[in-house]
Amino acid sequence: MATAAKIGIGSAINRVDGVEKVTGTARYAAEHPVENLLYGYIVEAAIAKGRVLSVDEDAARAVPGVVEVITHLNRPHVAWTDHSYQDEMKIPGSPFRPLYDDRIHFSQQPIALVLAETFEAARYAASLIEIAYETEAHNTDFDVALDDEYVPKKKRSGYVPPKDRGDAAQAFADAPLRVAGDYRLAPEHHNAMEMFGSTVEWHGDGSITVWDKTQGSQGVHAYLASVFGFSKKKVRVLNPYVGGAFGSGLRPQHQVFLAVLAAKMLERSVRVTMTRQQMFSHAYRPQAVQSIALGAETTGKLTAIRNAATTSTSRYEDNMENVVTWGLMNYDCPNADAEYTLAQIDTPTSADMRAPGAATGMTLFEIAIDEMAYAAKVDPLEFRLINYSPIDAMNGTPYTSKALREAFREGAEAFKWSERSAEPRSMREGNELIGWGCATGMWDAQFSKTSASAKLSANGHLEVACATSDIGTGSYTVMTLVAADTLGLPPEQITAKLGDSDLPAAPVEGGSWGAASSGAAVQLACQAVGKKLLKAAGKIAGEPLDGAKIEDVLFEDGCIVLKDTPTVRVPFGDAMRAADLTEIEEEATAAPGFGDMWKGLHKSKNTHSAIFAEVRVDEELGVVRVTRIVDAVAAGRIINPKTARSQILGGVVMGIGMALHEETFSDHRLGRWMNHNFGEYHVPVHADIHDIQVIFVDESDPEVTPLGVKGLGEIGIVGTAAAIANAIYHATGKRVRSLPITIDKILE
């Protein structure tokens, strides 16, 4: 029997949910039709700090269709302890409690929710609410807050304290070559396409179903149960489709709190959505300043790394990121020290945004590295190879794998780096100076305990399920491919289910652990189904498989096949009929340490990338174009090259935004973000994007995660902005140490 080319891990297939998405049949959180719905509109604080003295709601309540105005004064009872509000991704401190009391912690804080029979009535009524405030002195200026930088007492889970080595201060003082400076990153807002929204269906029996825009249905489920005192069985949270989140949906956002609060109070179904402007009322990537000092021999060998960073957080939570560790891990250098502090401003707590910590700290560090390469008169790529560390230089541990050298080689070849002319300002075409730059990217290869189920029906249909999310990353497709691979079924016969708190347990989707973790769980569940199938086949008269063990067979085209005698094939259906089974369902959990992972227990696990950028700078007018990017990524095994490439492309585009466009700015007198809309908060548009080439470097790593997968969600952004900043230097001879590099900074 001829077998069709097997589709499985490594096959470049289309997104299995692509058709639903492009035809509009995929429903997002605020699109689920629910009968008799009330619409909530959020009223936000106009001041940055103080108290609500009074709320005049009379005019709002008089608007036809308005049902209720909820404020801290009339809200129903909610939990009050910090502990109750602590979500799966909790940050040390006292979590924000919406409508809890009269305190205002940041501008745009929700202070009332207007509920009406139509969205329009709610929005209009919201405009009629008059609030009297008592203002208190505030500060949103990070530079001012730096005076009070501090080391938080309690560390956030996942925080890796930097480890010093040697004597960096002395080595820096003694170094023949020195580079030192402050490198900066502006605050950025995630601004995914889908705005935050929640639809709460009130069933009338004390139970609710919540469609929420979140990166983790079970995280929101636990939060709602804890905050509102629901029994866990009475709440179901669904997020089958998520229109991007970039980390802003790791923690429950206030619209879901408000929607459930209103549903509970009014005993009705409620929907609350944020407007684009309101998307600036919560999570943002912290503003950062990083003081980097590097010392080197005249040969370009690094002798000292000093890396101190401060990032912004709110007054009520200590949001820490791993900002300063990357450079210490990545470079071979005998002396290194690092420090990390926070500075508080009167904004919401900053939050994880695509590659939190690394996108900031590795990117800024890679600009300093480039400066040192020039100081040493060594080609920037060569400089990185001179200081290459095959092991994790901060922890002194080996990596499960690190194919960065190969990434540099393949990337440089594709980019034709060898044709670069060394001197800054040495390449020109018409009015444009041309520059080439490179940088290293780094991220963690993470794995999180995850469960999945697999259910095979006698008709050959397989359903795999896991409570993970697909935030546009391709989780549905990953689960489908892993299942297809494990049980030898075509993807069309497989349905992947996710985004439902009732499904087998999974963590929030983030940190690039999704594919590795849910993929491993799906594989385990499918393997368990395979074992059951084999057992069932034993019931077939005449025992065609002759008592074969699981090692002796493989699964192919819906058949159990004897490895040694591939002509012996038992269709799944025959096996199930013989055992009188209409379906086989198995659930399995993949936990760290599983499979070959134990061998990697004391090793460092990271993805790496080599990014090459070409820019063209019209120096006179300050206009920068990023005309070419090559990103060579070493991320272990690639499950679906097509969606994998999309992930990297998206990361690179976001990196271009970080380099040139993205910046939220405050009026510090008002303590308020002022460009809180898509007209004035700039992300790259098509015209800003030219040629981007993605290369996946061969990296086989059975120790990192069960499938050898390292994850791809974030690596694409890390270092990209540095490669661009470095290319701008090469083009113009002008070193810009603060991102984004806008027209004014080139003109300066």
């Binding site: 936000e44 106009a46 501008s107 329009e120 929005r123 209009y124 405009s127 407007t275 402007q277 018409g430 009015n431 444009e432 063209r616 019209d618 006179e620 007018l621 300050g622 206009v623 174009r625 040139l660 466009h661 700015f665 405050s666 009026d667 007198r669 008002l670 308020r672 002022m674 460009n675 809180h676 809309n677 007209g679 004035e680 700039h682 790259p684 548009v685 098509h686 015209a687 800003d688 806008t742 027209i743 004014d744 003109l747 300066e748």
Partner: protein
């Protein structure tokens, strides 16, 4: 968004009749008005939808000009063969603005009357004299990256954000309006105004007046022209500085040159006095620089927008060069020529 009455008149006379009253707004493409209403920046009591009015044609004028109907979409105007051939500067300027979707919806009359993009103007939680007279100007001493360097007042430093209007200023367009007191023809230079101490007035349109069309006089700026727009990304952003140039070169000298700046003032910025410095001159960097200095005389930065002054200076020189060399800036190439 507040509640409002809605009318959809079929004739200009009916529209103007309905259009009298303080809080009455004409609705054209709605790409600006609806946004302002959603954010409670503008709260009209009556919205008059003018999309049924017969103002959607481009017609020949006696003497060789063109009349652009107020309701002709921006994109239809830019791609109209007569406009492309006779007023390529206008096509170019329109295509430098917004996005294709917006240009399809936006109308010529709406473009002329669009409001500023000042951050404070759009956020009712902040002070703004233009939105709420007497509340103060948030942008002065605040976030003013996109604000004016010319012609501002201590009441308001907003800019007019249109690209189309910068070309119209150079082409000496005439705005045709009709209203309770009859028809008027307003030269473009007198249409928009400086903020002075009445920053809430963007232009000289009187209450209830409706723009019916824009007249382009016959002229010959089909070879030596350019629209150069400098902004925070390569497309789909408002101008930090834009420069429209229409020039005629006879032999090797500049016979005529008209230049206007966008993104720098409450109206397209032009100086016929400064333009005299170009007339009769050979195109050269020195001539262009001298002109740039003259056009920018009196420019002041507000802090965050100080860079606009050197940017405008260099942009003017580059644009004049583009025009003189008959290599106009492409709006599709996404690179500065």
């Amino acid at each position: 968004m507040n509640r409002f009455d809605y009318a959809r008149p079929a004739s200009v006379a009916e529209a103007v009749q309905a259009g009298t009253g303080e809080q009455v707004r004409y609705l054209a493409g709605g790409t600006n008005l609806i946004d302002l209403m959603k954010e409670n920046v503008d709260q009209p009591t009556t919205v008059i939808d003018i999309n049924r009015l017969p103002l959607n044609a481009i017609e020949e004028l006696d003497g060789g000009g063109l009349r652009l109907g107020a309701l002709v979409p921006n994109s239809d105007t830019a791609w109209d063969a007569r406009v492309e051939q006779r007023y390529p500067l206008l096509s170019s300027a329109i295509l430098a603005g917004a996005s294709p979707q917006l240009r399809n919806a936006a109308t010529n009359g709406g473009n002329l009357n669009q409001r500023t993009r000042c951050y404070y103007f759009y956020d009712v939680a902040t002070p703004c004299n233009k939105r709420k007279p007497g509340s103060g100007c948030g942008a002065i001493g605040g976030v003013n990256r996109i604000h004016a360097i010319l012609g501002a007042s201590d009441q308001c430093i907003a800019t007019h954000p249109s690209d189309m209007c910068v070309a119209l200023a150079v082409l000496d367009a005439i705005v045709q309006v009709t209203g309770p007191e009859g028809d008027r023809a307003i030269p473009i230079a007198d249409y928009h105004r400086l903020p002075g101490d009445e920053p809430w007035r963007d232009n000289t349109l009187r209450p209830g007046e409706l723009v019916t069309g824009i007249d382009l006089p016959a002229e010959d700026f089909t070879k030596n022209y350019t629209y150069l727009k400098l902004r925070d990304r390569l497309s789909y952003a408002f101008a930090l500085v834009s420069i429209a140039v229409a020039m005629r070169i006879e032999g090797s000298t500049i016979a005529e040159a008209q230049v206007a700046l966008g993104g720098v003032a409450h109206k397209p910025w032009r100086s016929t006095e400064a333009e005299k410095l170009l007339k009769g001159q050979q195109p050269s960097p020195q001539t262009f620089s001298a002109f740039a200095d003259a056009l920018l005389a009196g420019a002041v930065g507000q802090g965050k927008n100080d860079f606009k002054i050197p940017l405008a200076r260099k942009g003017i020189v580059r644009a004049l060069k583009q025009a003189a060399e008959a290599t106009p800036q492409s709006q599709t190439d996404k690179r500065i020529a």
